[in-house]
Symmetry: C2
Subunit: 347 residues, 2 copies
């Protein structure tokens, strides 16, 4: 089968977030990618000022309708990311429903880009629209805050983690959930099997990634987890890159391996490995820049001198182009394996 991905997310002229972080890697992996831009901005929001415009629902529908009329709307995979506003998101939800109805085997990775670190950065009326779309998704990739928002609960202990996964899988009908870049709090680290858990004194220097697959024939979801060393500082577009690599390498037709590896855990391992490798290269590059382009994050100083923030952002744009051999797999990085999280449901 010829694979073709429809990617619907933001576009920035400079740098790598949204579609700019997702499309090139997917092309490198061999996919033809149809690209619909939900915004056309000069740069990402982290710079604090940007120019350009958003694509409204009418423009999106005009693009979808012409693609449909021209028989250009038959992707095998769908990827959606940042979509500003409930009206545009609703239009994209209707498209996803149509594509899924027409082709039930469509692999839809929905990245519910809504906020981070306790803060919503989309309008609140976007949340219920995302919730209504979850049943269409094959895979979702919320961050920790987005998982809390979708499941409508705070994750603070084993019981709430179990409950949230159950809500996402069983109530909302999502077969695959991947949460990456999870700050490894003590309670979470304590839950991890010993082969996944970093040494206690290094907990806070790691991020956790967990994947959870569930089908109606299973009583409990299959959970995998892995830890990666934390790279200091904030980098934009990492989640967009991760989601794209996850979708590009997800091969559900391969089924579960006898050793416990599932299609989701395998794709997550590869996406995590490549994303971490790109981020490492980006971090090392940013460290070679002149001092005023690599000053530490400091909101107060940044607010007093906006160019300070802007130069740091510019120096931390993902080194995607320079890492294309890593993305393509021609240059191998050590595989960051996901391990079965045995016992999560039994403790």
């Amino acid at each position: 089968m010829v694979e073709r991905i429809l990617s619907i997310q933001s576009h920035v002229a400079f740098g790598y977030v949204g579609g700019k972080a997702a499309v090139f890697p997917l092309q490198c992996l061999g996919y033809d990618v149809d690209v619909v831009n939900t915004v056309n901005f000069s740069n990402h929001a982290g710079y604090r000022r940007s120019g350009g415009s958003k694509t409204n629902a009418a423009e999106l529908n005009s693009i979808f309708e012409s693609m449909e009329a021209n028989e250009l709307l038959s992707p095998t995979r769908l990827l959606t990311g940042y979509i500003p506003g409930a009206e545009a998101l609703t239009a994209i939800g209707q498209l996803a429903a149509k594509l899924k109805k027409r082709k039930p085997e469509l692999i839809y990775l929905l990245d519910p880009v809504m906020g981070d670190a306790g803060r919503l950065y989309v309008a609140p009326d976007v949340v219920p629209v995302y919730q209504s779309m979850l049943s269409l998704a094959s895979v979702i990739t919320p961050n920790w805050f987005e998982a809390e928002t979708l499941a409508n609960m705070t994750l603070h202990d084993l019981a709430s983690l179990r409950k949230a996964l159950t809500v996402l899988h069983k109530d909302y009908g999502v077969p695959n959930v991947v949460i990456s870049s999870i700050p490894l709090t003590t309670w979470l680290a304590d839950l991890l099997p010993s082969n996944i858990r970093p040494p206690p004194e290094e907990h806070s220097d790691h991020l956790l990634c967990m994947s959870s697959s569930w089908s109606a024939t299973q009583e409990k979801p299959t959970i995998h987890a892995g830890c990666v060393p934390l790279i200091p500082g904030y980098f934009s577009g990492v989640g967009d890159l991760f989601s794209a690599l996850l979708l590009g390498q997800f091969k559900p037709e391969q089924g579960d391996h006898p050793d416990g590896v599932t299609p989701l855990s395998s794709a997550t391992s590869h996406a995590l490995t490549k994303t971490h490798a790109v981020l490492t290269v980006t971090y090392k590059y940013s460290e070679t820049l002149p001092p005023d382009e690599r000053q530490a994050s400091d909101e107060e100083k940044d607010d007093a001198e906006p160019m300070r923030r802007i130069r740091r952002m510019r120096g931390r744009e993902l080194r995607l182009i320079q890492c294309q051999d890593i993305i393509r797999g021609a240059e191998l990085a050590e595989l960051r394996e996901m391990h079965p999280w045995i016992g999560l449901w039994d403790i």
Copy 2:
């Protein structure tokens, strides 16, 4: 020097023309590419119906101004392609002038996308704006009709060809002119040196590509030419791909070789080789499609049955993703060399 290209051209969701034909190849060649979209359409105009919207001059300026304010506007190379309307083109011309003034060594490839085969497909008031921008360009890549339009004369014999090149180089101040995909009429074939000219019975099965470099220290331009076999049928985006590959592989700092190869002729050889290889793969692919997706071009039948045209267009979208090893140079195609066109000025 870290190289960075600013590409300003059209965007289509499906298929490969404009930025979709140019950006991925440039990224494969290792360039960070800043991407400003002059239109956001569902598909290229050859399908005859498309949805989406054009980016107006105010939106373009908003993007440029924010990039400028954020110190994100320092490309080493500039690539401009299809720009609908004189107002948007004027905004881009002003940007090009500013970039060139700030960095005189900026390499600007201006592709004056205006029409083909005797037909203008932009508004006529675009032509003088392009003419006013020519002095900013390092390289221009008009097709035959566009060269005629810019020089404001019909090319029908040796004298008019010499005159047009003189006008473009000396009156408009363009150092490098490349005209590709020239139908090899008899008078043109007769002018070619024997090592470039195809056998007489095969003239019409070839296209001519010519490159012409000139600097103020030279009395006459240095002309190179090469022929490639004609691939039957019409394919969109070929010129956009060719221009991108030409810009990406143009290394003026290398200077002329003793054997007569110039930076322009060398870049043209490589761009021609890769473009022809991609087109060959695309043609062979289109020949494997079901009969109703590969019917011959026939305006009358297409008008009676629009889906006939649409399916042919879809089957002839460039196979860029499948040809990425060719573009990258990892998979070598036989080099289609440009040869010095000795005697053009002496005959």
